[in-house]
Subunit: 356 residues, 2 copies
Amino acid sequence: MRLATVEATPNIAVVKYWGKRDEELMLPNNGSLSFTMDETLKTRTTLAFSPEFKEDEAWINGEKLDEKALKKVIKALDAVREAAGTSEKAKLVSINGFPTAAGMASSASGMAALACAANEVLGLGLDSKGLSILARRGSGSACRSVLGGFVEWRRGEKEDGSDSYAIQVTDENHWPEIRNVIAVVDHGEKKVSSRAGMKQTIETSPLYSARQQYLPKVIEDVKAAVLAKDFNKFGELVMRESNDLHSVMLDTWPPILYLNDVSKEIIYAVHEYNENAGKIVAAYTFDAGPNAHVYTTEDQVKGIKEMLSKIKGIQKTVVCKVGAGPKKLSDGHLIAEDGSVKKHHYDAEKNGIVVE
Amino acid sequence: MRLATVEATPNIAVVKYWGKRDEELMLPNNGSLSFTMDETLKTRTTLAFSPEFKEDEAWINGEKLDEKALKKVIKALDAVREAAGTSEKAKLVSINGFPTAAGMASSASGMAALACAANEVLGLGLDSKGLSILARRGSGSACRSVLGGFVEWRRGEKEDGSDSYAIQVTDENHWPEIRNVIAVVDHGEKKVSSRAGMKQTIETSPLYSARQQYLPKVIEDVKAAVLAKDFNKFGELVMRESNDLHSVMLDTWPPILYLNDVSKEIIYAVHEYNENAGKIVAAYTFDAGPNAHVYTTEDQVKGIKEMLSKIKGIQKTVVCKVGAGPKKLSDGHLIAEDGSVKKHHYDAEKNGIVVE
């Protein structure tokens, strides 16, 4: 049995991925941009391969996946086996250091960790491009989490997806003051999964094609603002992009409504906060859920947290920095040498993963 | 002193007016469609002119308008005086049989009643086209309330607005089964007025121009569905149009969010109701506020009301039929012969306007 353990972190998009041009290869209709988060939020994954394993098995957050949930993991493992030229079965044990679902994007960090762990354990020798493509096959936006800093997922043009992968625009040291204040609004499961939702949007929203036309310019504008560290410009672009995305969601048939009254209050509060500041110093962005990601700079975090503390319905806030990307661990494996799953849990208070 | 009294009713658009091409003449960027409601909701207006009046005065819902609120009325009276070739000052007394603001469109019935009363008292001899243009000058969507039944406000092309007015597509007897179940969600004042909101949308929403391009086809499709009395088709078009409008509102900068969590619950409940029915038998539409207007047919009203009764946050429901348009009253004037304002109030329980 060979094994490797990797920790990866989520990325929070500022120009969103919404709509595939190839469901099987997970090829997007548009490019996207994100910051990879630091280890405040993370997924640890241990991946083991052995000729003795009879079947693929996976545990996520201490629970063994049933047949249905396992399918997505097997699909990702098949892509790994194809790259390695092996037919060995695998054991995967993964734990998230944050609540799953409700827009916290654990699939991105999870699938990025899986790709990186596979690269290590099977000695694939992949560079970031290869890792990104492998992660993308598991979950589209995971392809951005194989790199740290400020990351662009290029749409690509080719049918085989070989030019649709993430590149690092700037590393985590370019704009170290950037913070993401996450307002956790609701831990509940989403009504419409993003996978189903984006398919519906493409098929039914009359506004979607208009959005696709100007997104390439938005991407260039956001990149320019980040390179210039111009928060005023960056923040406006980020908020307008979030609103634009949720517009085409609402325009979908049947409509997709991820924002709720608490999200609305956060939107109004951020606009008021910026008005008081006389410029844009905070920028909300919402994924496929009601949680707010308020991008800001270090000097504003205290004020933002105060502002958010006045809004009823926010369960907690989490402040993230920009992170360096996935990290290989030499200990803390979640699988023992005899192939059994070690006892492990996430200690939220210590923000750490504990392996017994 | 000469006076006339008219009652007019609101209209609830199924293809909405959002965006002006001329702020002064109230010329719209797109055509729109609505049903005029019956007298369940109404505005009664008495308008008097006299050479002895020193200044324009107006009372709405028993309160004398202050200088700021009076300006909009004076603007409408000036348009009337221009049409009549008079400089006499006026007294206007108006009362709504329903809560103002929060998307109940009292300005439409109010301005339609003013135009019709002016036509009577000054003997202008206007036909529905002339009345519609006069009402439009007071409040855009008021131009649709001068007619009963199913009404189209034609966008028009001319700069002077002479071809931008309402026509009746079908009268109130064409599809008498149509009902509008209004779910009153919030009586509060709106955060963003529709006047300011639509201006912001034109100036800032990148999706707005795409919407403008397909609206003419939507209008033709809705008209065809109404003429064919095809509720399944009509309902889908109405809901998609409402969602599309609220999408460009959300896409506005800063964003305009009229829908709230109760609106969302109503949207979900209507979709579920239709799924259970196996076809579309109920269709929500939202104006510039959280209130839902659920268009349906007579046979479904009981079921719709039951469905709405399970949603927390709905203050009350009001069921309207399609109405016949404004009505001239020979008594029940709100101004006495000596020019004084008569004591009057709206009795919600009896759904009547009481003049002492």
